[in-house]
Assembly symmetry: C2
Homo-oligomer: 305 residues x 2
């Protein structure tokens, strides 16, 4: 395909998720305009074949579809509507794929503000983590108009193996993602609580893992995270701080609805404790170390390679 005929896409935010998405788009033949608040990161991406943008506005004036993968709602707002924001330069009819985990009420408001500028939103939280972002194997819990999905179709297809279309309304994607994060966070904390008790009770944690993985007590997170405990390896795949943030979003949203979440609140306190103990950047299952601190259990040591 001639260079001038390449499909164009923008990526704003080159963290572990955004960089994986940007590289995937490059690999699949897109002309990728990318921006990160750290100029050295954009420049490094340019050496891989991307185009380093000087600002979000610089991304916006060059592409019809931009995916925003920053940390939270504040940053999403800043890169779209702040100084040199992308919303000021995107052509009418362009699509913003907003993929950070945000409160549903923020997504709804964002949809209104983009609509006022003639832009379309896909409220598109992702799941799958950095490893699957790099492989183009994300799962997207999205909502947005049929026109937006059509215009962004090639980009979505390039970066995800599963693209949900949950309806036309902004907020729906973020609601489903919020419920998913509630469960993911509670299940991680529950896996930690259960394995810690197993160790305290003198059961063999490997045996417990094997049996429970095949029993009614299993969860996706139990199966995925408990091996980190067994291996004593807390290298972050997803960090404690992610759940401090995401369960915080869930609790704030629910509080605005006067809705109590006793389990989520208990799990959030444990993640907060882990962050307070200096484990914020460790793997999220490090929350098991709170139980170690409260009981003196001996967790499996890291295996030598």
């Amino acid at each position: 395909m001639a260079a001038g005929k390449k499909q164009k896409a923008g990526v704003i935010g080159l963290g572990s998720m955004g960089l994986g998405v940007a590289r995937t788009l490059l690999k699949k033949g897109f002309e990728v305009h990318a921006y990160d608040v750290r100029p050295e990161v954009s420049k490094a991406f340019a050496k891989e074949g991307g185009i380093a943008a000087k600002s979000p506005a610089d991304v916006g004036r060059n592409v019809p579809v931009v995916i925003v993968l920053v940390v939270n709602a504040d940053q999403t707002n800043e890169v779209l509507f702040g100084k040199d924001g992308a919303a000021s330069t995107l052509a009418k009819g362009s699509v913003v794929i907003a993929s950070s985990t945000v409160a549903p009420e923020f997504a709804i408001d964002l949809g209104r503000r983009l609509d006022a500028k003639g832009l379309m939103l896909i409220d598109a939280p992702v799941s799958g983590g950095a490893a699957r972002a790099a492989k183009g194997e994300l799962s997207i819990m999205g909502s947005g108009s049929k026109a937006a999905y059509k215009k962004a179709g090639a980009v979505l297809k390039a970066i995800a193996v599963k693209v949900y279309e949950l309806g036309p309304d902004a907020g729906t994607g973020s609601k489903v993602k919020m419920i998913n994060q509630l469960l993911a966070g509670v299940h991680i904390a529950a896996a930690a609580e259960a394995m810690a008790l197993a160790i305290r009770a003198g059961a063999d944690p490997k045996v417990v893992y094997e049996v429970i993985s095949n029993s009614a007590g299993s969860s996706w997170m139990f199966q995925n995270r408990v091996p980190h405990i067994l291996d004593g390896d807390y290298t972050p795949l997803s960090a404690v701080n992610i759940f401090v943030k995401d369960l915080g979003i869930v609790l704030d949203s629910a509080k605005k609805m006067t809705f109590p979440l006793p389990l989520t609140a208990a799990a959030h306190q444990l993640f907060l404790g882990a962050a307070g103990a200096g484990l914020g950047y460790e793997d999220d299952i490090s929350v098991v170390k709170m139980y170690q601190a409260m009981s003196g259990i001996k967790l499996p040591a890291k295996k030598k390679k």
Copy 2:
């Protein structure tokens, strides 16, 4: 096989689990001596081809292997060591398969007391529920000596599709079951919390169920129990009272070890609340009605057939 050559097995406790196990053993050609505290239940089982025992001792004097499927530790103790208990009549070398959910420390003590009488224990909590008990498809989280497993092998094979041998020590089976129940109970309450919030937030509960079932927020219990909420059908497969009891056992055991369980405690309070609201005999996912009571959400109505 001539009647006199039939293998013999005893079943004590003909509740929903025990009756299923007893019928399975009959179906597979065993001579089944069965006892229940309600004489009419034993008599009804005799009409199906079983032999109604007048007391646990009456079971014990006729069989080399007896499975005990009563409600709790107290009843297990009573049918084995109480008046006319089976331990007084079982021949030396016989096997007791104790399958009620009990505290690990009870199972350990039970093993010692049976050993003192020359009897062997398999500490053998089951999972799978009444439906799978009736089909001979239980999963057994067992521990006990190789000799005990050998002697009880035909019985175990008849009633279960999966028989774990978790080691020689009494208590190991009950520890693993305790951890499983901790997770099962927390996951049911988390599923209720998540679906209730989804409804409050205005998301379509069916869509949420479909997406989360395929996402990192899923659990065995989420997939299995949430359809009851969607169908508005709280017919008990497993009841709220089971988790009032089982999480109570987990919390009591952990307290004796000075081990805190914040998530389990929160979940237990919700099941207690559901029982206090008169829902003890409803399906365990009725715990979602606690969230209804705290928020006024409208749960899906029961479908007309």
